[in-house]
Symmetry: C2
Subunit: 328 residues, 2 copies
């Protein structure tokens, strides 16, 4: 394992300290909790997200005006505890309630639910939206149902915009529940991620091998294959994602090409080019795109493609609105 770190057990805390050193103009930490929160809290519903570390810039890179109020960081690839999440909820509430955005992993679901119950006992209104955008497989290593992956960031952005505009908690919850049914993601990996405390990649792929449908913690996908050209990968991913999204007679879509941590930006653009050429087959308009690293898997090479249904222009307005965060 070659990493620029000190001790493997200190990566999360030192990363967090680095973030707070760098961005104390608008972010602060809550002692002993690994919560990163906006300093300036508007009197609106606070959005709280988080999960295991290792997906940077998710989620701390999306804390700030117009997106998340707070991010809760677990150990690498491990859910934060209910106590941590509770502190994030308490610190995020301005009397308008808190919306939790949770990726669908058994540990996260359990811990965020428990924190929600604990917060409600302290008379804080809490709702939650569960993101399960990964269409690769059902019931994976850490998941009942589908996994929550890069599409989560689009949920942060859209709901963050409406929260910033003053939308009430119940309305945000309804909007979010509908939204997550219109976001679909598929990823491919060329190599596994190395968790610092493990010291070697979570799975191994041969020199000319790739895997379709891998999860962001290295969970198995749906097929191993020889490494294919970008255009064939684009064809397969686009085909599967479009057949999901076209069940609703979609006319407008947005695209997110997400690097998994060690993929050069040039490859993401080569792939995007192939996706666009593939989409010429479909009668849809692409009204939004985002290309870069948003939901990574430490140092995994590979990428994911997310397709979001944007027939409702309000979603597009929300995606395009300026924000005061680090990594959108």
């Amino acid at each position: 394992m070659k990493k620029i770190i000190n001790h493997p057990s200190q990566v999360v805390d030192e990363m967090l300290k680095g973030m707070l050193y760098a961005h104390s103009d608008f972010l602060e930490g809550i002692d002993e909790t690994r919560v990163i929160i906006e300093k300036d809290k508007q009197p609106t519903v606070g959005l709280v997200s988080g999960g295991g570390s290792g997906h940077e810039p998710a989620h701390a890179g999306f804390v700030g005006e117009g997106m998340l109020r707070a991010a809760v960081l677990g150990e690498m690839f491990t859910s934060p505890t209910p106590d941590q999440i509770l502190e994030a909820i308490k610190a995020s509430d301005t009397g308008h309630g808190v919306l939790l955005i949770v990726k669908n992993y058994t540990g996260d679901v359990m811990n965020f639910d428990m924190a929600k119950e604990m917060a409600e006992m302290e008379d804080i209104q809490v709702a939650s939206v569960l993101v399960d955008d990964d269409i690769a497989v059902e019931d994976s290593t850490y998941t009942a149902g589908k996994r929550g992956v890069a599409g989560t960031v689009l949920v942060h952005k859209i709901l963050g915009h409406f929260a910033h505009e003053g939308m009430a908690l119940n309305d945000l919850k309804s909007l979010g529940d509908a939204l997550v049914t219109d976001i679909h993601t598929l990823g491919v990996a060329l190599s596994g991620a190395t968790v610092p405390e493990v010291g070697k990649p979570g799975f191994h792929l041969g020199e000319s091998e790739m895997e379709y449908g891998v999860g962001i913690h290295g969970e198995p996908g749906y097929r191993r294959d020889t490494l294919k050209p970008s255009r064939e990968i684009a064809k397969e991913l686009t085909g599967k994602l479009m057949s999901e999204i076209m069940t609703k007679k979609t006319k407008k879509i947005g695209l997110l090409v997400n690097g998994l941590g060690a993929t050069p930006l040039q490859e993401l653009y080569v792939f995007y080019n192939d996706v666009i050429e593939e989409l010429a087959k479909y009668d849809v308009e692409i009204v939004f795109n985002k290309i870069g690293d948003f939901m990574t898997s430490i140092d995994m090479t590979g990428l994911s493609l997310t397709v979001i249904r944007l027939d409702d222009d309000k979603r597009t307005v929300a995606l395009e609105a300026p924000v005061g965060v680090l990594n959108w």
Copy 2:
């Protein structure tokens, strides 16, 4: 070589097509030139930069309001031709002249100079600023003098701001010439970059080996060593950079921690934390920071640290000003 591409010879053109598909709301290409340029050109001095591809998001990711007017893309790790650069100059001029920002490599210097002369023969005012921020070595593989690396992006940002504010070409040139003497960078690599058409890494480092001072095309650095903890790397880089910058009795600095392409963001923050703790030894105030991938070397693992002298607050204002580009 495992990459998400089609044919190695097509990477630059397909990446460019992908960028133009994605960002045609504010960027356009000039046919047959690999030039990416702002659609909406203000009546100000146009800043043109570029160089070999493989450093994404540099330089195309910095084209837009308040930074570059145009970026010229060469083949991978290869300077663009004088003809390409000339087209960028011509398309960037609004009658107020064009400022070239050139990284110090023999090929780039020669080709940008030739394009400058050709443009002057067409009565376009052109000036250029040469960036040579890498303090690792003098006279490297492709360079006489020091190399131009990640600090170049700070030059784009500061001069881009003043150009946007309407500063005249001669003043931008003077300001730029002074600025580049106040920017110093050092990098470390844990692995070499693989140029697609070469198919294997440009250099090899053993499983527990690193190299100090490597250039962004894999040019040799100043020492190979066993892989050190982040805090020792921070100590060495900070020490060398601060002894350069403190020759001017500097009181305020800015920091840029730049990933080289395949380095997880979490490591950049761990390293930033160590840099800040190291800087406690010095009587300086850190008034600006930036952490992420700005000037990469395709898929190299490693990072660079740039220190810029910011005793003149106008530089800090310029760095902090909002911009309309993709990757700042």
